[in-house]
Symmetry: C2
Protein backbone atom coordinates (compact mmCIF):
# COMPACT_ATOMS: atom_id res chain seq x y z
CA UNK A 1 0.00 0.00 0.00
CA UNK A 2 1.13 3.59 -0.48
CA UNK A 3 1.68 5.38 2.86
CA UNK A 4 0.58 8.68 1.34
CA UNK A 5 -2.74 7.17 0.28
CA UNK A 6 -3.65 5.96 3.79
CA UNK A 7 -6.45 8.55 4.00
CA UNK A 8 -8.00 7.33 0.76
CA UNK A 9 -7.89 3.67 1.82
CA UNK A 10 -9.32 4.52 5.25
CA UNK A 11 -12.10 6.69 3.85
CA UNK A 12 -13.08 3.84 1.50
CA UNK A 13 -13.25 1.45 4.47
CA UNK A 14 -14.94 3.81 6.94
CA UNK A 15 -17.65 4.93 4.55
CA UNK A 16 -18.32 1.34 3.49
CA UNK A 17 -17.53 2.17 -0.16
CA UNK A 18 -15.01 -0.68 -0.04
CA UNK A 19 -15.72 -4.18 1.35
CA UNK A 20 -13.74 -5.53 4.28
CA UNK A 21 -15.28 -9.01 4.53
CA UNK A 22 -15.17 -11.79 1.98
CA UNK A 23 -12.79 -13.29 -0.55
CA UNK A 24 -12.16 -12.77 -4.25
CA UNK A 25 -13.95 -15.38 -6.37
CA UNK A 26 -12.89 -17.10 -9.59
CA UNK A 27 -15.74 -16.64 -12.07
CA UNK A 28 -14.29 -18.35 -15.13
CA UNK A 29 -11.17 -20.46 -15.50
CA UNK A 30 -9.00 -22.44 -17.90
CA UNK A 31 -5.62 -24.11 -17.33
CA UNK A 32 -3.91 -20.83 -18.21
CA UNK A 33 -6.45 -18.07 -17.56
CA UNK A 34 -8.89 -16.83 -14.95
CA UNK A 35 -11.48 -14.09 -14.54
CA UNK A 36 -11.77 -13.01 -10.90
CA UNK A 37 -14.43 -10.97 -9.11
CA UNK A 38 -12.50 -8.97 -6.50
CA UNK A 39 -15.77 -8.48 -4.59
CA UNK A 40 -14.83 -4.84 -3.95
CA UNK A 41 -12.10 -5.85 -1.47
CA UNK A 42 -8.94 -3.80 -0.94
CA UNK A 43 -6.63 -3.86 -3.96
CA UNK A 44 -3.80 -5.80 -2.28
CA UNK A 45 -6.23 -8.56 -1.22
CA UNK A 46 -7.39 -8.94 -4.83
CA UNK A 47 -3.86 -8.51 -6.21
CA UNK A 48 -2.29 -11.17 -4.01
CA UNK A 49 -5.10 -13.61 -4.78
CA UNK A 50 -4.75 -13.08 -8.54
CA UNK A 51 -0.95 -13.12 -8.64
CA UNK A 52 -0.81 -16.36 -6.65
CA UNK A 53 -3.34 -17.89 -9.04
CA UNK A 54 -1.30 -16.73 -12.07
CA UNK A 55 1.86 -18.30 -10.59
CA UNK A 56 0.07 -21.61 -9.91
CA UNK A 57 -1.11 -21.73 -13.52
CA UNK A 58 2.36 -20.86 -14.84
CA UNK A 59 3.77 -23.82 -12.87
CA UNK A 60 1.32 -26.11 -14.67
CA UNK A 61 1.18 -24.78 -18.23
CA UNK A 62 3.97 -22.16 -18.45
CA UNK A 63 1.77 -19.07 -18.23
CA UNK A 64 -1.04 -17.71 -16.08
CA UNK A 65 -3.05 -14.68 -17.26
CA UNK A 66 -5.54 -13.55 -14.61
CA UNK A 67 -7.78 -10.48 -14.78
CA UNK A 68 -9.98 -9.05 -12.05
CA UNK A 69 -12.91 -6.67 -11.93
CA UNK A 70 -14.36 -5.32 -8.69
CA UNK A 71 -10.95 -4.29 -7.37
CA UNK A 72 -9.60 -1.17 -5.65
CA UNK A 73 -6.32 0.79 -5.73
CA UNK A 74 -3.65 -1.91 -5.37
CA UNK A 75 -0.69 0.24 -4.33
CA UNK A 76 2.56 -0.43 -6.17
CA UNK A 77 2.33 -2.39 -9.43
CA UNK A 78 5.86 -3.77 -8.97
CA UNK A 79 4.87 -5.46 -5.72
CA UNK A 80 2.82 -8.03 -7.67
CA UNK A 81 5.17 -8.58 -10.61
CA UNK A 82 7.98 -9.18 -8.10
CA UNK A 83 6.04 -12.01 -6.41
CA UNK A 84 6.88 -14.07 -9.49
CA UNK A 85 10.63 -13.57 -8.91
CA UNK A 86 10.41 -15.78 -5.79
CA UNK A 87 9.34 -18.64 -8.07
CA UNK A 88 12.01 -17.74 -10.66
CA UNK A 89 9.33 -16.58 -13.06
CA UNK A 90 8.61 -13.46 -15.09
CA UNK A 91 5.78 -11.46 -13.48
CA UNK A 92 3.58 -8.70 -14.89
CA UNK A 93 0.89 -6.51 -13.42
CA UNK A 94 -1.36 -3.81 -14.87
CA UNK A 95 -4.13 -1.67 -13.44
CA UNK A 96 -6.44 0.99 -14.73
CA UNK A 97 -6.76 4.11 -12.57
CA UNK A 98 -8.81 7.29 -12.26
CA UNK A 99 -8.81 9.47 -15.41
CA UNK A 100 -5.93 11.97 -15.31
CA UNK A 101 -4.33 11.62 -18.75
CA UNK A 102 -5.40 13.54 -21.87
CA UNK A 103 -4.89 11.55 -25.11
CA UNK A 104 -2.74 13.02 -27.89
CA UNK A 105 -4.69 15.78 -29.74
CA UNK A 106 -7.46 15.73 -27.11
CA UNK A 107 -8.38 17.93 -24.18
CA UNK A 108 -10.37 15.56 -21.98
CA UNK A 109 -9.00 13.25 -19.25
CA UNK A 110 -10.07 9.92 -20.70
CA UNK A 111 -7.29 7.63 -19.45
CA UNK A 112 -5.66 6.90 -16.12
CA UNK A 113 -1.92 6.91 -15.50
CA UNK A 114 -2.43 3.15 -16.12
CA UNK A 115 0.84 1.66 -14.83
CA UNK A 116 2.48 -1.53 -16.01
CA UNK A 117 5.14 -3.58 -14.30
CA UNK A 118 7.33 -6.40 -15.59
CA UNK A 119 9.86 -8.28 -13.44
CA UNK A 120 12.30 -10.96 -14.61
CA UNK A 121 14.78 -12.97 -12.52
CA UNK A 122 18.54 -12.95 -13.18
CA UNK A 123 21.25 -14.84 -11.28
CA UNK A 124 22.14 -14.53 -7.58
CA UNK A 125 18.94 -12.69 -6.62
CA UNK A 126 19.45 -9.96 -9.21
CA UNK A 127 16.50 -8.98 -11.40
CA UNK A 128 14.97 -6.65 -13.97
CA UNK A 129 12.04 -4.68 -12.51
CA UNK A 130 10.19 -2.21 -14.68
CA UNK A 131 7.37 -0.31 -12.96
CA UNK A 132 6.12 2.67 -14.89
CA UNK A 133 3.03 4.78 -15.35
CA UNK A 134 2.09 5.28 -18.99
CA UNK A 135 1.82 9.02 -18.34
CA UNK A 136 4.94 11.17 -18.74
CA UNK A 137 5.08 11.65 -14.95
CA UNK A 138 2.96 10.94 -11.87
CA UNK A 139 0.46 13.58 -10.73
CA UNK A 140 2.46 13.97 -7.49
CA UNK A 141 5.41 15.45 -9.39
CA UNK A 142 3.19 18.19 -10.82
CA UNK A 143 1.69 18.85 -7.36
CA UNK A 144 5.18 19.14 -5.87
CA UNK A 145 6.22 21.79 -8.41
CA UNK A 146 2.96 23.65 -7.81
CA UNK A 147 3.54 23.73 -4.03
CA UNK A 148 7.12 24.97 -4.59
CA UNK A 149 5.94 27.59 -7.08
CA UNK A 150 8.17 26.07 -9.79
CA UNK A 151 7.17 25.64 -13.44
CA UNK A 152 7.05 22.09 -14.84
CA UNK A 153 9.18 20.96 -17.80
CA UNK A 154 7.59 20.94 -21.22
CA UNK A 155 6.04 17.54 -21.83
CA UNK A 156 4.58 16.69 -18.41
CA UNK A 157 1.06 18.04 -18.74
CA UNK A 158 -1.43 20.13 -20.70
CA UNK A 159 -3.86 22.96 -19.96
CA UNK A 160 -7.69 22.67 -20.22
CA UNK A 161 -7.43 23.42 -23.95
CA UNK A 162 -5.14 20.43 -24.52
CA UNK A 163 -1.98 22.46 -25.11
CA UNK A 164 1.26 21.37 -23.44
CA UNK A 165 2.04 23.82 -20.64
CA UNK A 166 4.75 24.60 -18.09
CA UNK A 167 2.18 25.90 -15.55
CA UNK A 168 1.45 23.18 -12.95
CA UNK A 169 -1.73 24.96 -11.76
CA UNK A 170 -3.20 24.74 -15.23
CA UNK A 171 -2.52 20.96 -15.34
CA UNK A 172 -4.16 20.47 -11.94
CA UNK A 173 -7.23 22.63 -12.62
CA UNK A 174 -8.95 21.33 -15.72
CA UNK A 175 -5.90 20.25 -17.71
CA UNK A 176 -4.24 16.87 -17.33
CA UNK A 177 -1.13 14.76 -17.60
CA UNK A 178 0.17 13.84 -21.05
CA UNK A 179 1.25 10.32 -22.04
CA UNK A 180 4.89 9.06 -22.02
CA UNK A 181 6.65 10.90 -24.84
CA UNK A 182 4.93 14.24 -24.20
CA UNK A 183 3.41 16.12 -27.12
CA UNK A 184 2.57 14.62 -30.51
CA UNK A 185 5.82 15.98 -32.01
CA UNK A 186 7.94 14.14 -29.44
CA UNK A 187 6.03 10.85 -29.75
CA UNK A 188 3.35 11.21 -27.08
CA UNK A 189 1.05 9.06 -29.21
CA UNK A 190 3.26 6.08 -28.28
CA UNK A 191 2.55 6.59 -24.58
CA UNK A 192 -1.13 7.17 -25.41
CA UNK A 193 -1.18 3.79 -27.17
CA UNK A 194 0.50 2.10 -24.21
CA UNK A 195 -2.05 3.64 -21.81
CA UNK A 196 -4.82 2.25 -24.03
CA UNK A 197 -3.11 -1.17 -24.06
CA UNK A 198 -3.20 -1.26 -20.24
CA UNK A 199 -6.90 -0.34 -20.34
CA UNK A 200 -7.57 -3.19 -22.81
CA UNK A 201 -5.91 -5.71 -20.43
CA UNK A 202 -7.73 -4.27 -17.40
CA UNK A 203 -11.12 -2.56 -17.66
CA UNK A 204 -12.03 -3.94 -21.08
CA UNK A 205 -10.94 -7.57 -20.63
CA UNK A 206 -12.23 -7.76 -17.04
CA UNK A 207 -15.56 -5.98 -17.59
CA UNK A 208 -14.73 -3.41 -14.90
CA UNK A 209 -15.09 0.37 -15.06
CA UNK A 210 -12.83 1.88 -17.71
CA UNK A 211 -11.52 5.10 -19.17
CA UNK A 212 -13.52 8.20 -18.17
CA UNK A 213 -16.07 6.10 -16.23
CA UNK A 214 -13.56 5.29 -13.47
CA UNK A 215 -14.31 7.45 -10.44
CA UNK A 216 -12.42 10.72 -10.00
CA UNK A 217 -9.01 10.46 -8.32
CA UNK A 218 -9.32 10.51 -4.51
CA UNK A 219 -13.10 11.03 -4.66
CA UNK A 220 -14.40 7.97 -2.82
CA UNK A 221 -18.09 8.66 -3.45
CA UNK A 222 -18.79 5.33 -5.13
CA UNK A 223 -17.37 1.85 -5.63
CA UNK A 224 -14.15 1.98 -7.69
CA UNK A 225 -14.63 -1.32 -9.61
CA UNK A 226 -11.12 -1.14 -11.04
CA UNK A 227 -9.86 -3.67 -13.57
CA UNK A 228 -6.47 -5.32 -13.05
CA UNK A 229 -4.34 -7.89 -14.84
CA UNK A 230 -1.72 -10.26 -13.41
CA UNK A 231 0.58 -12.51 -15.41
CA UNK A 232 3.22 -15.11 -14.58
CA UNK A 233 5.45 -16.73 -17.21
CA UNK A 234 7.67 -19.71 -16.43
CA UNK A 235 11.05 -19.49 -18.23
CA UNK A 236 11.39 -23.28 -17.84
CA UNK A 237 8.86 -23.61 -20.65
CA UNK A 238 11.22 -21.79 -22.99
CA UNK A 239 14.99 -21.87 -23.73
CA UNK A 240 17.37 -23.13 -20.97
CA UNK A 241 19.76 -20.55 -19.45
CA UNK A 242 17.25 -17.74 -18.92
CA UNK A 243 18.80 -16.41 -15.69
CA UNK A 244 22.32 -16.33 -17.12
CA UNK A 245 21.17 -14.39 -20.17
CA UNK A 246 19.20 -11.99 -17.93
CA UNK A 247 22.30 -11.30 -15.83
CA UNK A 248 24.34 -10.69 -18.95
CA UNK A 249 21.69 -8.33 -20.39
CA UNK A 250 21.75 -6.31 -17.15
CA UNK A 251 25.57 -6.24 -17.12
CA UNK A 252 25.74 -5.03 -20.73
CA UNK A 253 23.75 -1.96 -19.69
CA UNK A 254 25.33 -1.33 -16.29
CA UNK A 255 28.95 -1.90 -17.33
CA UNK A 256 29.10 0.47 -20.28
CA UNK A 257 30.90 3.81 -20.03
CA UNK A 258 28.37 6.39 -18.85
CA UNK A 259 27.82 9.68 -20.72
CA UNK A 260 28.54 11.54 -17.47
CA UNK A 261 31.31 10.07 -15.29
CA UNK A 262 29.90 9.29 -11.84
CA UNK A 263 26.39 8.81 -13.19
CA UNK A 264 26.37 5.11 -14.09
CA UNK A 265 23.89 3.47 -16.42
CA UNK A 266 21.21 1.78 -14.30
CA UNK A 267 19.03 -1.23 -15.03
CA UNK A 268 15.28 -0.91 -14.41
CA UNK A 269 14.84 -1.61 -10.67
CA UNK A 270 18.30 -0.30 -9.67
CA UNK A 271 17.10 3.07 -8.24
CA UNK A 272 14.72 1.24 -5.86
CA UNK A 273 17.43 -1.32 -5.02
CA UNK A 274 19.86 1.48 -4.14
CA UNK A 275 17.22 3.08 -1.94
CA UNK A 276 16.51 -0.21 -0.14
CA UNK A 277 20.23 -0.64 0.52
CA UNK A 278 20.35 2.84 2.00
CA UNK A 279 17.36 2.06 4.24
CA UNK A 280 19.06 -1.10 5.47
CA UNK A 281 22.21 0.85 6.28
CA UNK A 282 20.38 3.50 8.30
CA UNK A 283 18.13 0.91 9.99
CA UNK A 284 14.74 1.84 8.58
CA UNK A 285 12.74 3.80 6.02
CA UNK A 286 13.21 7.55 6.52
CA UNK A 287 9.95 9.53 6.35
CA UNK A 288 9.68 13.30 6.14
CA UNK A 289 8.41 14.71 9.45
CA UNK A 290 5.26 15.94 7.66
CA UNK A 291 4.51 12.41 6.51
CA UNK A 292 4.91 11.12 10.09
CA UNK A 293 2.50 13.85 11.29
CA UNK A 294 0.06 12.94 8.52
CA UNK A 295 0.09 9.26 9.48
CA UNK A 296 -0.21 10.04 13.20
CA UNK A 297 -3.22 12.30 12.56
CA UNK A 298 -4.93 9.44 10.81
CA UNK A 299 -4.12 6.66 13.27
CA UNK A 300 -5.39 8.94 16.09
CA UNK A 301 -8.77 9.16 14.33
CA UNK A 302 -9.13 5.40 14.15
CA UNK A 303 -7.71 4.75 17.64
CA UNK A 304 -4.58 2.73 16.88
CA UNK A 305 -1.10 3.49 18.22
CA UNK A 306 0.86 6.29 16.64
CA UNK A 307 4.34 5.99 15.14
CA UNK A 308 6.79 6.19 18.03
CA UNK A 309 9.00 9.25 18.37
CA UNK A 310 12.29 8.47 16.76
CA UNK A 311 15.63 10.08 17.53
CA UNK A 312 17.18 8.73 14.38
CA UNK A 313 16.85 11.92 12.36
CA UNK A 314 18.39 11.63 8.92
CA UNK A 315 19.15 14.56 6.70
CA UNK A 316 18.58 13.79 3.04
CA UNK B 1 7.72 -7.54 -45.66
CA UNK B 2 8.99 -3.98 -45.97
CA UNK B 3 9.40 -2.90 -49.60
CA UNK B 4 12.38 -0.71 -48.69
CA UNK B 5 14.19 -3.67 -47.15
CA UNK B 6 13.96 -5.83 -50.30
CA UNK B 7 17.72 -5.52 -50.82
CA UNK B 8 18.44 -6.80 -47.30
CA UNK B 9 16.10 -9.77 -47.67
CA UNK B 10 17.53 -10.61 -51.10
CA UNK B 11 21.13 -10.33 -49.95
CA UNK B 12 20.37 -12.67 -47.04
CA UNK B 13 18.87 -15.21 -49.48
CA UNK B 14 21.46 -14.86 -52.25
CA UNK B 15 24.46 -15.18 -49.95
CA UNK B 16 22.91 -18.15 -48.16
CA UNK B 17 23.01 -16.33 -44.81
CA UNK B 18 19.30 -17.04 -44.54
CA UNK B 19 17.68 -20.46 -45.19
CA UNK B 20 15.09 -20.87 -47.93
CA UNK B 21 14.23 -24.55 -47.41
CA UNK B 22 12.65 -26.17 -44.38
CA UNK B 23 10.00 -25.43 -41.78
CA UNK B 24 10.04 -23.93 -38.30
CA UNK B 25 10.05 -26.64 -35.61
CA UNK B 26 8.37 -26.70 -32.19
CA UNK B 27 11.09 -27.59 -29.67
CA UNK B 28 9.11 -27.46 -26.43
CA UNK B 29 5.37 -27.15 -25.86
CA UNK B 30 2.61 -26.94 -23.28
CA UNK B 31 -1.13 -26.34 -23.72
CA UNK B 32 -0.47 -22.58 -23.60
CA UNK B 33 3.19 -22.08 -24.61
CA UNK B 34 5.72 -23.07 -27.24
CA UNK B 35 9.37 -22.57 -28.01
CA UNK B 36 10.02 -22.61 -31.76
CA UNK B 37 13.25 -22.96 -33.74
CA UNK B 38 12.76 -20.74 -36.79
CA UNK B 39 15.53 -22.69 -38.55
CA UNK B 40 16.91 -19.43 -39.94
CA UNK B 41 13.96 -19.06 -42.35
CA UNK B 42 12.64 -15.67 -43.46
CA UNK B 43 10.95 -13.75 -40.63
CA UNK B 44 7.42 -13.87 -42.09
CA UNK B 45 7.64 -17.68 -42.44
CA UNK B 46 8.58 -17.98 -38.77
CA UNK B 47 6.11 -15.27 -37.71
CA UNK B 48 3.11 -16.83 -39.48
CA UNK B 49 3.95 -20.26 -38.07
CA UNK B 50 4.22 -18.92 -34.50
CA UNK B 51 1.17 -16.65 -34.64
CA UNK B 52 -1.01 -19.48 -35.99
CA UNK B 53 0.25 -21.70 -33.19
CA UNK B 54 -0.50 -19.01 -30.57
CA UNK B 55 -4.04 -18.61 -31.92
CA UNK B 56 -4.66 -22.40 -31.84
CA UNK B 57 -3.54 -22.49 -28.21
CA UNK B 58 -5.71 -19.49 -27.32
CA UNK B 59 -8.73 -21.33 -28.76
CA UNK B 60 -8.03 -24.23 -26.40
CA UNK B 61 -6.90 -22.59 -23.16
CA UNK B 62 -7.54 -18.85 -23.63
CA UNK B 63 -3.94 -17.81 -24.30
CA UNK B 64 -1.02 -18.85 -26.47
CA UNK B 65 2.48 -17.47 -25.76
CA UNK B 66 4.98 -18.59 -28.43
CA UNK B 67 8.62 -17.50 -28.70
CA UNK B 68 11.05 -18.23 -31.51
CA UNK B 69 14.81 -18.17 -31.90
CA UNK B 70 16.57 -18.59 -35.23
CA UNK B 71 14.37 -16.02 -36.93
CA UNK B 72 15.04 -13.10 -39.29
CA UNK B 73 13.60 -9.62 -39.82
CA UNK B 74 9.83 -10.18 -39.83
CA UNK B 75 8.66 -6.94 -41.45
CA UNK B 76 5.81 -5.14 -39.74
CA UNK B 77 5.04 -6.18 -36.13
CA UNK B 78 1.37 -5.24 -36.54
CA UNK B 79 0.94 -7.77 -39.34
CA UNK B 80 1.15 -10.62 -36.81
CA UNK B 81 -0.86 -9.08 -33.97
CA UNK B 82 -3.62 -8.33 -36.50
CA UNK B 83 -3.87 -12.02 -37.49
CA UNK B 84 -5.58 -12.53 -34.13
CA UNK B 85 -8.32 -10.01 -35.04
CA UNK B 86 -9.67 -12.45 -37.66
CA UNK B 87 -10.38 -14.88 -34.81
CA UNK B 88 -11.81 -12.10 -32.62
CA UNK B 89 -8.81 -12.33 -30.31
CA UNK B 90 -6.23 -9.94 -28.88
CA UNK B 91 -2.88 -10.40 -30.65
CA UNK B 92 0.61 -9.30 -29.66
CA UNK B 93 3.99 -9.49 -31.33
CA UNK B 94 7.49 -8.45 -30.30
CA UNK B 95 10.90 -8.72 -31.94
CA UNK B 96 14.43 -7.78 -31.03
CA UNK B 97 16.41 -5.97 -33.71
CA UNK B 98 19.94 -4.79 -34.49
CA UNK B 99 21.44 -2.49 -31.83
CA UNK B 100 20.63 1.16 -32.61
CA UNK B 101 19.38 2.51 -29.26
CA UNK B 102 21.56 3.96 -26.50
CA UNK B 103 20.19 3.34 -22.97
CA UNK B 104 19.53 6.30 -20.67
CA UNK B 105 22.85 7.63 -19.27
CA UNK B 106 24.87 5.44 -21.64
CA UNK B 107 26.74 6.04 -24.88
CA UNK B 108 26.75 2.57 -26.46
CA UNK B 109 24.12 1.08 -28.78
CA UNK B 110 23.04 -1.87 -26.65
CA UNK B 111 19.38 -2.23 -27.61
CA UNK B 112 17.43 -2.47 -30.84
CA UNK B 113 14.42 -0.35 -31.69
CA UNK B 114 12.60 -3.45 -30.34
CA UNK B 115 9.01 -2.89 -31.52
CA UNK B 116 5.88 -4.16 -29.87
CA UNK B 117 2.41 -4.50 -31.32
CA UNK B 118 -0.95 -5.13 -29.65
CA UNK B 119 -4.23 -5.48 -31.57
CA UNK B 120 -7.71 -5.89 -30.06
CA UNK B 121 -11.03 -6.36 -31.89
CA UNK B 122 -13.97 -3.96 -31.48
CA UNK B 123 -17.40 -4.17 -33.15
CA UNK B 124 -18.17 -4.10 -36.91
CA UNK B 125 -14.57 -4.77 -37.97
CA UNK B 126 -13.17 -1.85 -35.99
CA UNK B 127 -10.09 -2.45 -33.85
CA UNK B 128 -7.31 -1.06 -31.68
CA UNK B 129 -3.88 -1.56 -33.31
CA UNK B 130 -0.77 -0.34 -31.52
CA UNK B 131 2.51 -0.88 -33.40
CA UNK B 132 5.41 1.06 -32.00
CA UNK B 133 9.17 0.94 -31.75
CA UNK B 134 10.46 1.47 -28.21
CA UNK B 135 12.87 4.09 -29.56
CA UNK B 136 11.70 7.70 -29.78
CA UNK B 137 11.65 7.43 -33.58
CA UNK B 138 12.71 5.02 -36.33
CA UNK B 139 16.21 5.38 -37.79
CA UNK B 140 14.64 6.24 -41.16
CA UNK B 141 13.30 9.52 -39.78
CA UNK B 142 16.80 10.60 -38.76
CA UNK B 143 18.17 9.55 -42.18
CA UNK B 144 15.46 11.58 -43.92
CA UNK B 145 16.40 14.74 -42.01
CA UNK B 146 20.08 14.14 -42.72
CA UNK B 147 19.40 13.82 -46.48
CA UNK B 148 17.34 17.01 -46.39
CA UNK B 149 19.99 18.83 -44.38
CA UNK B 150 17.48 19.51 -41.58
CA UNK B 151 18.27 19.27 -37.86
CA UNK B 152 16.33 16.70 -35.83
CA UNK B 153 14.14 17.66 -32.85
CA UNK B 154 15.62 17.36 -29.39
CA UNK B 155 14.83 13.90 -28.04
CA UNK B 156 15.29 11.72 -31.13
CA UNK B 157 18.92 10.73 -30.82
CA UNK B 158 22.28 11.23 -29.16
CA UNK B 159 25.88 11.83 -30.26
CA UNK B 160 28.76 9.35 -29.70
CA UNK B 161 29.26 10.83 -26.22
CA UNK B 162 25.67 9.98 -25.23
CA UNK B 163 24.40 13.56 -25.23
CA UNK B 164 21.07 14.33 -26.88
CA UNK B 165 21.72 16.18 -30.14
CA UNK B 166 19.87 17.91 -32.96
CA UNK B 167 22.52 16.90 -35.53
CA UNK B 168 21.31 13.86 -37.52
CA UNK B 169 24.84 13.11 -38.81
CA UNK B 170 26.09 12.71 -35.28
CA UNK B 171 23.31 10.22 -34.50
CA UNK B 172 24.10 8.19 -37.63
CA UNK B 173 27.89 8.15 -37.15
CA UNK B 174 28.69 6.72 -33.76
CA UNK B 175 25.72 8.07 -31.81
CA UNK B 176 22.36 6.37 -31.65
CA UNK B 177 18.63 6.64 -31.19
CA UNK B 178 17.27 7.36 -27.71
CA UNK B 179 14.35 5.47 -26.15
CA UNK B 180 10.69 6.67 -26.15
CA UNK B 181 10.57 9.69 -23.86
CA UNK B 182 13.90 11.15 -25.03
CA UNK B 183 16.42 12.25 -22.41
CA UNK B 184 16.41 11.21 -18.74
CA UNK B 185 14.72 14.51 -17.76
CA UNK B 186 11.77 13.87 -20.07
CA UNK B 187 11.33 10.21 -19.01
CA UNK B 188 13.53 8.38 -21.52
CA UNK B 189 14.21 5.74 -18.86
CA UNK B 190 10.60 4.58 -19.35
CA UNK B 191 11.24 3.84 -23.02
CA UNK B 192 14.57 2.25 -22.10
CA UNK B 193 12.70 -0.09 -19.71
CA UNK B 194 10.16 -0.95 -22.41
CA UNK B 195 12.96 -1.74 -24.88
CA UNK B 196 14.49 -4.06 -22.26
CA UNK B 197 11.07 -5.69 -21.69
CA UNK B 198 10.83 -6.54 -25.40
CA UNK B 199 14.36 -8.02 -25.25
CA UNK B 200 13.34 -10.17 -22.24
CA UNK B 201 10.35 -11.59 -24.20
CA UNK B 202 12.47 -12.15 -27.33
CA UNK B 203 16.22 -12.79 -27.18
CA UNK B 204 16.33 -13.76 -23.50
CA UNK B 205 13.25 -16.01 -23.32
CA UNK B 206 13.94 -17.61 -26.71
CA UNK B 207 17.70 -18.12 -26.29
CA UNK B 208 18.41 -16.15 -29.48
CA UNK B 209 20.97 -13.40 -30.02
CA UNK B 210 20.24 -10.36 -27.88
CA UNK B 211 21.23 -6.79 -27.14
CA UNK B 212 24.61 -5.77 -28.58
CA UNK B 213 25.27 -9.31 -29.91
CA UNK B 214 22.59 -8.95 -32.63
CA UNK B 215 24.29 -8.31 -35.96
CA UNK B 216 24.72 -4.71 -37.14
CA UNK B 217 21.73 -3.18 -38.94
CA UNK B 218 21.76 -4.08 -42.67
CA UNK B 219 25.10 -5.92 -42.37
CA UNK B 220 24.17 -9.41 -43.51
CA UNK B 221 27.57 -10.96 -42.77
CA UNK B 222 26.24 -13.64 -40.45
CA UNK B 223 23.06 -15.43 -39.38
CA UNK B 224 20.69 -12.99 -37.61
CA UNK B 225 19.24 -15.48 -35.07
CA UNK B 226 16.63 -12.96 -33.93
CA UNK B 227 14.27 -13.69 -31.03
CA UNK B 228 10.55 -13.04 -31.46
CA UNK B 229 7.43 -13.42 -29.35
CA UNK B 230 3.82 -13.97 -30.49
CA UNK B 231 0.77 -13.95 -28.23
CA UNK B 232 -2.96 -14.55 -28.72
CA UNK B 233 -5.53 -13.98 -25.97
CA UNK B 234 -9.15 -15.11 -26.30
CA UNK B 235 -11.58 -12.56 -24.81
CA UNK B 236 -14.14 -15.38 -24.47
CA UNK B 237 -12.15 -16.62 -21.50
CA UNK B 238 -12.80 -13.33 -19.71
CA UNK B 239 -15.82 -11.01 -19.20
CA UNK B 240 -18.64 -11.09 -21.82
CA UNK B 241 -19.11 -7.95 -23.96
CA UNK B 242 -15.44 -7.37 -24.86
CA UNK B 243 -16.08 -6.02 -28.38
CA UNK B 244 -18.78 -3.58 -27.22
CA UNK B 245 -16.47 -2.15 -24.54
CA UNK B 246 -13.61 -1.91 -27.04
CA UNK B 247 -15.82 0.08 -29.44
CA UNK B 248 -16.88 2.37 -26.63
CA UNK B 249 -13.26 2.90 -25.51
CA UNK B 250 -12.30 3.87 -29.06
CA UNK B 251 -15.30 6.21 -29.36
CA UNK B 252 -14.48 7.95 -26.07
CA UNK B 253 -11.12 8.94 -27.53
CA UNK B 254 -12.22 9.73 -31.10
CA UNK B 255 -15.39 11.63 -30.18
CA UNK B 256 -13.90 14.15 -27.76
CA UNK B 257 -13.36 17.76 -28.77
CA UNK B 258 -9.86 18.04 -30.25
CA UNK B 259 -7.34 20.62 -29.01
CA UNK B 260 -7.02 21.89 -32.60
CA UNK B 261 -10.24 21.98 -34.63
CA UNK B 262 -9.80 19.88 -37.78
CA UNK B 263 -7.21 17.66 -36.13
CA UNK B 264 -9.36 14.94 -34.54
CA UNK B 265 -8.20 12.61 -31.79
CA UNK B 266 -7.21 9.30 -33.37
CA UNK B 267 -7.22 5.79 -31.92
CA UNK B 268 -4.07 3.66 -32.37
CA UNK B 269 -4.40 2.16 -35.86
CA UNK B 270 -6.43 5.05 -37.30
CA UNK B 271 -3.58 6.67 -39.29
CA UNK B 272 -2.94 3.37 -41.11
CA UNK B 273 -6.68 2.84 -41.61
CA UNK B 274 -7.00 6.31 -43.18
CA UNK B 275 -4.09 5.55 -45.47
CA UNK B 276 -5.61 2.22 -46.55
CA UNK B 277 -8.89 3.99 -47.33
CA UNK B 278 -7.00 6.49 -49.48
CA UNK B 279 -5.24 3.66 -51.34
CA UNK B 280 -8.57 1.98 -52.04
CA UNK B 281 -9.95 5.23 -53.41
CA UNK B 282 -7.05 5.81 -55.78
CA UNK B 283 -6.91 2.13 -56.78
CA UNK B 284 -3.53 1.09 -55.34
CA UNK B 285 -0.61 1.89 -53.10
CA UNK B 286 1.23 5.00 -54.34
CA UNK B 287 5.04 4.62 -54.33
CA UNK B 288 7.51 7.42 -54.84
CA UNK B 289 9.14 7.12 -58.27
CA UNK B 290 12.52 6.54 -56.57
CA UNK B 291 11.09 3.56 -54.70
CA UNK B 292 9.75 2.11 -57.97
CA UNK B 293 13.23 2.55 -59.53
CA UNK B 294 14.82 0.92 -56.48
CA UNK B 295 12.54 -2.11 -56.74
CA UNK B 296 13.00 -2.41 -60.50
CA UNK B 297 16.79 -2.30 -60.12
CA UNK B 298 16.58 -5.22 -57.75
CA UNK B 299 14.11 -7.36 -59.67
CA UNK B 300 16.27 -6.90 -62.78
CA UNK B 301 19.24 -8.43 -60.92
CA UNK B 302 17.28 -11.53 -60.00
CA UNK B 303 15.52 -11.80 -63.36
CA UNK B 304 11.88 -11.40 -62.43
CA UNK B 305 9.44 -8.99 -64.07
CA UNK B 306 9.66 -5.33 -63.20
CA UNK B 307 6.81 -3.18 -61.90
CA UNK B 308 4.77 -2.12 -64.92
CA UNK B 309 4.82 1.52 -66.01
CA UNK B 310 1.83 3.21 -64.49
CA UNK B 311 0.07 6.31 -65.77
CA UNK B 312 -1.76 6.80 -62.51
CA UNK B 313 0.55 9.47 -61.12
CA UNK B 314 -0.62 10.80 -57.80
CA UNK B 315 0.67 14.00 -56.26
CA UNK B 316 0.89 13.75 -52.50
Amino acid sequence: MCVLLTDMYLKDIQTGVCAVEGEPVVEKESAATALVDGNNLLGPVVGNFCMNLAIRKAKEVGIGWVVAHGSNHFGIAGYYSMQALKENMIGMSFTNTSPLVVPTRGKERTLGTNPLSVAAPAEHGDSFVLDTATSAVALGKVELNERRGDPIPDGWGCDPEGHVTTDPKSVLTGGGLVPIGGSEATGGYKGYGLGMMVEVFCGILAGAQYSKYVRTWKVTDRVANLGQCFVAINPENFAPGFNERMSDLLSIQRDQDPAEPGSPVLAPGDPERLNMKKCEEIGGIPYHINVVKYINDYVKKIGISQLLPCDNVVSV
